[in-house]
Amino acid sequence: MSSNALETELTRRRLLQFLGALGITSVSGATLAGLEATIREARAQAAPGSVMPKLQAMSPNWPDMIEIWRQATRDYAELGLEVEVQQGTLDTWVAQVVGEHKLPHLVSMSWGGAPDRMDPDFFLNEILNSKRAVKGGLNYGHYMNPAYDEVANAQRVEVDEAKRRQLVMEAQAISAKDNPLMVLFHRDIIQAYNKAKFGGVTPIIGNGIGFPYAPLSYLGLEALTPRKVVKITSIYDIASLNPFLTPEVYNSSVLRQIYATFVTRDKDANIMPWSLESWTLVDPTTMDLTLRPGQTFHDGKPVTVEDVKFTFDYILKWKFPALARVVDSVKSAEITGDNTVRLKLNQPYAAFVPNVLGFAFIAPKHVWEQVPGNSGLASPADWPNDQPVGSGPWKYVEWRKGEYLNLAAHKEFFMPPKLDGLVLLPVPAIENQIGMMERGEADLFGWTMDVTQGKRLGQNPDIEIVQTPTHGMHEIRFNLAMAPMDNPALRLALQHATDRKKYLDIIFSGAGTLANNTMITPVLKQWSNPDVPNPEPSIDKARQVLKDAGFTWDGNGKLKLPS
């Protein structure tokens, strides 16, 4: 299609959208038609020998992402490639890219350091396994390689850790050869706390000092002034106090402060016992849990194996979508002694301990067995649970939506908090959070800032800045289902044309870990494959790769597809 025809097509699309928006009913039709037109257009243009179509990209509208694309657009222009970026808010991005799998050639995203992403299974299977190349799955780039799937599936059920590590390395090697995505870097978490008022801060990999993902990081906090309540900022608020309702990471992590999980992560991010004293894998699908004795719920009643069995039965009975991982992996729970419960699993699952036992929690039987009762609710997930009773280190005091969540120390917890309470403050603007830190209105910065903000805040003599590496990552995904992205040489050339170090320096002042050609950060040494370095950043190399694959350039320096 000539550039003139493209113009006409674009005008037609805009007209369509305009007409659509005039009549409300046809609006969504117009949107989808618009997007479909883009995709169809892109396909039609990828004919052999023709000038390379303008690469369409989609990205969330965050400043770091905007800058990434400004850099990439300039770099790829040197290859004779034009990039046009479409940006949207996160919800639009999720709805289109994940929900509908409607995406242009390139899609960028950054993944935070949620606790379950510590285990390689998340990145290996959720993002690249072909079974997730369906609407709603995260393999929206449609990477389909049976050899990869086989290895990725095998590591998931391999309970022998050494053997599993081999498979994890192998999976990374396969995907690095195929280049289904560009992993840019793993941005450090930069947080701050008021050292004049609080001590005993425990940084944890992937969690830093302020995120609620690892409960341990709040437990060591000590007050240096008479006020023994710490105020922690966050950009989010929780949506519900019901632990069965939402799978959203922030919400469930905060509720795990109240509802203790079975295991948790220590300061080196290793698994450590929490509500459990120990666990043993009897065979690949049988696990014995030994409950830590002497625990109590916040209402004073003891925590028993009855409660443990009840919680699993309850989850299996109601099949809460929020706890899908438990539903998918656990077959049954039986009491085998005063302090022991035997779990039967549906299939062997290597990440069972971190991802299921680190996520499931103990709910008090005496509270939940009456829910939903005759309240008329369809599911206990809809129960407001206004006075949550758990067995975690913090107990519920008060929640004012959009203002604060106030928790008090549960002194009977086996590792009692040194403070009397903690308050989580949802403050949507990061700049306001920093201001509150400076003015002493908040004590612990619970989100992440960048180096410049940290340096400025750190000039305050009361404030200490803490930088922690994370396993989260910034990536650009290729849409392999759309020509010409299915051309491996083009993907390799783009890898060569992407100078990750420059991006990290400009965008985050170098605060982060440069990625290998795998999603698993080099910081997680036991899982990351060190032998898959990124293609060397060099425009010349990129051009050579393209030339070798039969690409040519026209008189204006525009890239042409191989004929």
């Binding site: 659509g20 400043p63 920093i434």
Partner: protein, 300 residues
């Protein structure tokens, strides 16, 4: 959003072209109007030639002699308005951003006026059921809060300058429609309209040849107001992060400045876009004020 009552001498001979000609010269009659017009025209000129007069490419990253990124550098000889968080030149962004502001302002004003004037004319002239329906639609438009609605439309359609223009136009015609309707209501009682009706002139002829020239000064007043509202609306939507990512605009600059935490420290990044917005919008208002005097001689 001023609902002005109208008093002016309607004339049957008012011609569209003649009225426009005298309207253009109008703002220069007073010194405030003249200054405002000069500011407005300056921005329009910058909008056209911006990319050529900007000292740097707006998104280029600048480094110092040691090769360090000039992150949030204070104003200097090389960068008169300092640099942004990613080391881009603020002045260049400001200059290049003018274009989108002017385009949005003028295009929206055109659409809003087109919709508003026609709804007002038709509603006022026909009265009765047509009027009732059109005015209830206007009520609906008044009831919808602009920014949340913009968020909905941006979620429906992608964020682009075109869609922002569309959103603004879809809502903002409401005031013009109401005011012009009330003016038409009084105009149509006048002798010259009755005379045309008796002479057998078609409704369209009466509306566009007799009524329209008489509401034109009022329309021009709303063109001025609409430019101002549209520019502020675009800036607000961009500030919340729903702007067009491919187009530098003053609102977009403020969005990035705010998110990057420049509001505490880097005044050179936060203040200039706001000042430009204020100057541009203010000049348009002052020009509008001159039209206001024309539509309502009691104000002069």
């Amino acid at each position: 959003m001023t609902d002005l009552a109208i008093a002016q001498t309607p004339s049957r001979r008012a011609s569209v072209l003649g009225t426009i000609g005298s309207l253009i010269a109008l703002p220069f009659r007073t010194w405030t109007g003249a200054i405002a017009s000069v500011i407005f025209l300056t921005f329009c000129v910058i909008a056209v030639i911006g990319p050529w007069i900007a000292p740097y490419s707006p998104n280029a990253n600048h480094f110092n002699a040691q090769g360090e990124l000039l992150r949030l550098a204070a104003p200097s000889a090389a960068h008169w308005l300092g640099t942004t968080y990613y080391g881009s030149d603020v002045l260049s962004q400001l200059i290049v951003g003018t274009r989108i502001v002017v385009i949005v302002g003028l295009t929206c004003a055109l659409f809003i006026t087109l919709i508003g004037t026609n709804v007002g004319l038709i509603s006022g002239y026909y009265g009765g059921r047509v009027d009732a329906v059109l005015m209830r639609i206007t009520d609906l438009a008044f009831g919808i809060p602009f920014i949340p609605f913009a968020v909905v439309l941006v979620a429906l359609l992608a964020p682009s300058t075109w869609n922002i223009i569309l959103t603004i136009s879809l809502l903002m015609w409401r005031t013009a429609a109401r005011v012009i309707r009330s003016q038409v209501l009084s105009l149509k009682q006048r002798a010259f309209v009755k005379a045309s009706q008796i002479a057998g002139a078609s409704d369209l002829r009466i509306i566009y040849l007799h009524l329209f020239p008489n509401v034109l000064p009022m329309t021009m007043l709303y063109v001025a107001f609409d430019i101002a509202w549209a520019v502020i609306a675009e800036a607000s939507v961009s500030f919340l992060g729903f702007g067009d990512p491919n187009q530098m605009s003053w609102g977009q600059m403020l969005y990035l400045a705010y998110l990057s935490g420049a509001i505490r420290h880097a005044w050179w990044w936060t203040i200039p876009p706001g000042v430009c917005l204020t100057l541009f919008v203010g000049s348009v208002f002052l020009i509008g004020r001159e039209f206001e005097k024309l539509t309502n001689p009691k104000l002069a």
